[in-house]
């Protein structure tokens, strides 16, 4: 694809929690089908940035446009905005009292108002997409961490979001389970999904991402294609961070 229209535009975003400046002027663009990787030390504001993008957090100032719509405007239907932007969490956050299928079906039924049969068909299709057709009836406590995270991805995908946000999707997993989740993410990318990913999986970033953004203290220090950021970082901070992250 030669032309990639920005589907996500973040313009001079600020976020304050009391007297903590979590985000201090973030400006960022992501094109349709691109994978943007966010890296940076703990507390640099990566999660805060993702949470602003589906309005789990309300930015103090600045704008976020999704597909041309300003989602930071004051009177906006948050539930509509959120269902267009999927979010995957470090701790999966599956609903423990529902089966894998039930987890995927809930928003389909209650947010999109689909019938049980329709929702079920979509849920099964999405579970198949993440390789879990045979686990549809299992409850979260009967699934491995990697399987739970894949169900969580299916739960978000079912709403056909324009963008998927991943906040350290593999950090809570045993090393041998990381691969299956990354594989699903890779496949999403190949299907053309726009993704913003916070993760420490540098090798995956190199292989799959289009942009890498290095953040520190609520600001973007450096951004560019993975080869540039990982192999020829300009900023001293980036270099130090990468050295520490790799060793």
């Amino acid at each position: 694809m030669s032309q990639r229209l920005p589907i996500l535009t973040i313009d001079n975003l600020h976020l304050r929690y009391g007297d903590v400046d979590a985000l201090r002027g973030i400006t960022l663009e992501a094109g349709t089908g691109e994978m943007t990787f966010l890296i940076g030390p703990s507390g640099s504001g990566k999660s805060s940035l993702l949470r602003c993008c589906n309005r789990l957090e309300t930015p103090t100032s600045g704008k976020i446009y999704v597909d041309g719509e300003d989602i930071t405007q004051r009177y906006i239907n948050l539930n509509r905005v959120r269902r267009g932007i999927g979010m995957v969490f470090q701790s999966f956050n599956l609903y423990p009292h529902m089966s894998a299928k039930g987890n995927v079906m809930l928003a389909l039924r209650k947010v999109l108002g689909k019938s049980r049969a329709e929702a079920e068909a979509i849920a099964l299709k999405q579970l198949e997409r993440v390789g879990l057709s045979d686990r549809a009836g299992h409850y979260p406590n009967q699934l491995s961490g990697g399987q739970q995270q894949r169900v969580a991805i299916a739960r978000s995908l079912a709403l056909e979001p324009k963008i998927m946000l991943f906040d350290e999707p593999t950090s809570a997993l045993d090393p041998e389970l990381v691969g299956e989740v990354l594989k699903v993410m890779r496949q999403l990318k190949d299907d053309g999904m726009t993704m913003v990913v916070v993760s420490h999986e540098m090798r995956f970033a190199k292989a799959a991402s289009d942009h890498v953004v290095f953040m520190a203290e609520g600001q973007i220090v450096e951004a560019g294609p993975p080869a540039q950021i990982f192999d020829e970082p300009v900023a001293e901070r980036t270099r130090t961070f990468l050295q520490e992250a790799y060793h």
């Binding site: 539930n79 959120r82 269902r83 979010m87 956050n93 009292h97 809930l106 928003a107 209650k110 709403l159």
Partner: protein, 227 residues
């Protein structure tokens, strides 16, 4: 008369039983009625208050917290007496049945609110975030995601409380509600014999043992699914 005969004569006198069993049964019926009403309305009100509290409006939460603390602190009998003997002076006449039902409902609601609230708080923040991120509203998240998980933690304390408060239907005696204990004491003074009290005891057991048992079963059912 042997000691055994005297025991039977005091607590299980056949003639007394025969004469007063209809009164005991009608008392049991009234007690049962109030108990069911109190359980349904008390728990529903408690849940509604806990849900309201979770919205975090200060103007609403302060009165809720005050209401809950007051009702948990006061002996129900005090409230019953105030409403039954005090309100008529203001021109409000409530029947004993209504007063008993109201007071026990409010007391159970206060305890239930606290228990549900603790349950709601025990559900991890991530559950809210996941649900909200899929576009579920606050109320939908409460109803479909949070409350079902909260209820699981509340089953044991809530059954205990419910049983404890429902037993207070016996307080209806002091304001003339024809409930079980009232019928029994009336019969006891007419018959000058304790047999009606023993009959009431047995009736209470018949009424509450299934409730205790059902509570156990519920507790087990929920504990089993916990991971």
């Amino acid at each position: 008369m042997t000691r055994f005969d005297r025991f039977i004569d005091t607590f299980f006198k056949p003639e007394v039983m025969q004469q007063y069993w209809p009164d005991i049964v009608s008392g049991l019926f009234v007690t049962c009625q109030i108990a069911i009403l109190v359980i349904v309305s008390g728990i529903s009100l408690g849940l509604a208050l806990a849900i309201l509290r979770s919205y975090g409006f200060k103007v609403i939460n302060l009165p809720i917290v005050i209401f809950v603390d007051l009702l948990r602190a006061l002996p129900p009998l005090v409230l019953i007496l105030i409403l039954y003997f005090g309100l008529p002076n203001l021109g409000i006449n409530l029947s004993g049945f209504l007063v008993l039902w109201m007071v026990l409902t409010l007391v159970l609601a206060a305890f239930a609110e606290e228990i549900f609230w603790a349950g709601i708080l025990s559900v991890p923040e991530g559950q809210w975030q996941a649900a909200r991120s899929t576009g579920l509203g606050r109320f939908q998240t409460l109803i479909y995601v949070v409350i079902p998980q909260a209820v699981r933690m509340t089953v044991a304390p809530l059954t205990n409380r419910t049983i404890a408060i429902t037993k207070n239907t016996a307080l209806g005696m002091v304001i003339g509600v024809p409930e079980l204990l009232n019928q029994a004491t009336t019969a006891q003074s007419f018959a000058a014999n304790a047999t009606p009290l023993m009959m009431a005891t047995i009736a209470y057991l018949i009424l509450f043992i299934p409730v205790v048992y059902a509570g156990r079963r519920l507790e087990k059912a929920y504990a089993w699914r916990r991971h």
